[in-house]
Amino acid sequence: MASSDDFREFYRASYGRTLATVAALVGSKHEAEDITQEAYARALARWSWLHGFDLPDAWVRKVAVRLAVDSSRRRRTRLAATLRLESLRPPQPPQPDDDLRYTPLGAALLDLPIRERQVVVLHYLADLPVDEIARECGLPAGTVKTRLAAGRRHLAERLAQYPEAVT
């Protein structure tokens, strides 16, 4: 039966994977931690039936990705709303410990539209095949392939601006 110990074990074993996926979507470690913990809190509330899943981490990932995509969309709206205030702000120094966007891949990822970023991250980071991404995102497989191809192309173009990132 479901127990608190089962959940702790599942949480410790899968936390890092979920955090990495979310971080790639939102570009900020602090925000990724908050979203990841929220996803696990939701999983804990449903653990009595979730523990029977073959892959409960897939459920957590799905919730976390949904929260991350939503957060990215909200951030875009916030940015648009505050853009006109940018010139009034003092320049903000980069915060490498938090902001993953200061790495070449992180910066390139955040330049992608969120719909492309989502499938690229699920494919290359979470190692999901196209059919599974389609199922998880509620999209036709053809759409996933199209977004994946576009995302890969855009990513390559942006990474080419960082010679050290190209192998």
Partner: protein
């Protein structure tokens, strides 16, 4: 840069994050408690507001004796139900939630017909399927012994639930269920399975529920998958086959389960049905006449109804906001549809609606339904 290089870059980039220690478990527990309390407060507040509104309206219409129990819907398809559920088929299977165990309830009255526990094994209910008259539910049970077994739950004339184990089980090591549908007569069951680890092709299995035996199985192929299906007749299964390898097979296809498979692939064994490409997220009404398709239009979640025969768009019905769906673990889509699709119950987030011949009315049903998570069905109606 090729795929392997890119994947390696991703994995190098993510390595420190993957190695990050999980924060203290107590923090997650506190967050979960806060969330539960927040939801409870929200539900309580909503219920109180509805009760006040209903009593005010009841008072105006019926005088002091009016109250929630006296509220009835006008004579219509829904009959005199307390909730707008069809009088003939009100039973719904709900596969547990944060606050309750699996159960079958009478959605017309809100009465719980029976709480269910898996039969002959310790585990959980995974997939669930139901006949169109809501009197027979077939439930897949996943146990700790790596077996998927099956049970049926029958509604008796008195409205109680009889639960018993049926059919031979299957090994979890060999298969996972990703779809399950029972025919309108309650005589046949189709299972869609994929191999454990999801490498290789899946299978479509057809069972005779009367005899309790496996009738036949059809291998899928590596490039195709069944996205949804329904039984237009007792023997014929209509399925939407999405094939990235051979577009010639993609689309709605019909499988005659009365004919032995003789080894062909599922795609080859089926005949093309109406040309309805593009209904990837949809479903069909029980008579197959209407295709129901969910799309996101701007900030709205919209239900489209198409004629399955002509492909003509019959109507569009907004059922909620995209934001409500994204922020909520709750279901967004059609909860129940009459055989011809003229009567619908929908939910998106916490918003529930009845749709009768295109007229939309906001309602509050006895339960809120969680979104399904493959391979676990959260409800069957």
């Amino acid at each position: 840069m090729n795929d392997v290089d890119l994947r390696e870059q991703f994995h190098n980039w993510a390595a420190p994050l993957r190695a990050a220690a999980a924060p203290e478990f107590a923090g997650i527990r506190r967050r979960a408690r806060r969330r539960t309390a927040r939801l409870a407060a929200l539900a309580g507040g909503t219920a109180a507001a509805i009760a006040v509104a209903v009593s005010l309206v009841g008072g105006v219409l019926t005088g002091p004796a009016g109250g929630p129990d006296h509220v009835s819907h006008p004579a219509s398809f829904w009959g005199q139900s307390r909730y707008p559920a069809p009088g003939q088929a009100p039973y719904v299977f709900i596969n547990g939630s944060a606050s309750g165990s699996p159960m079958i309830g009478d959605a017309a009255s809100g009465r719980i017909a029976g709480r269910l526990a898996t039969v002959g094994t310790r585990g959980i209910f995974g997939a669930a399927a139901v006949t169109s008259n809501d009197r027979l539910f077939v439930l897949a049970q996943q146990s700790e012994a790596d077996r998927i077994t099956f049970a049926e739950a029958r509604i008796t004339p008195s409205g109680s639930v009889l639960l018993r184990r049926i059919l031979p089980g299957i090994s979890v090591a060999a298969s996972q269920i990703y779809g399950m549908t029972v025919n309108p007569a309650g005589t046949r069951l189709v299972l869609n399975t994929w191999p454990a680890g999801r490498t290789g092709a899946g299978k479509l299995l057809v069972y005779d529920l009367t005899a309790g035996t496996l009738v036949d199985s059809w291998p899928e192929n590596h490039t195709g998958v069944v996205t949804f299906q329904y039984w237009p007749t007792a023997d014929r299964l209509a399925l939407y086959w999405q094939d990235s390898g051979s577009l010639a097979y993609s689309g709605l296809r019909i499988l005659n389960t009365a004919v032995r498979s003789a080894g062909p692939s599922l795609a080859a064994a089926t005949q093309p049905g109406p040309d309805l490409r593009g209904y990837h997220r949809g479903a069909f009404t029980a008579d197959g006449s209407v295709a129901l398709n969910m799309i996101q239009s701007g900030s709205a979640e919209v239900l489209q109804e198409f004629s399955a025969r002509s492909g003509a768009l019959l109507r569009t019905i907004p059922i909620g906001t995209a934001r409500a769906q994204q922020d909520s673990p709750d279901f967004c889509g059609v909860l129940w549809a009459s055989a011809d699709g003229r009567e619908l119950l929908t939910q998106c987030g916490r918003r529930q609606q009845e749709v009768v011949n295109g007229t939309v009315t906001r309602v509050k049903l006895a339960w809120n339904f969680l979104a399904p998570q493959t391979p676990v069905t959260t409800f069957a109606w």
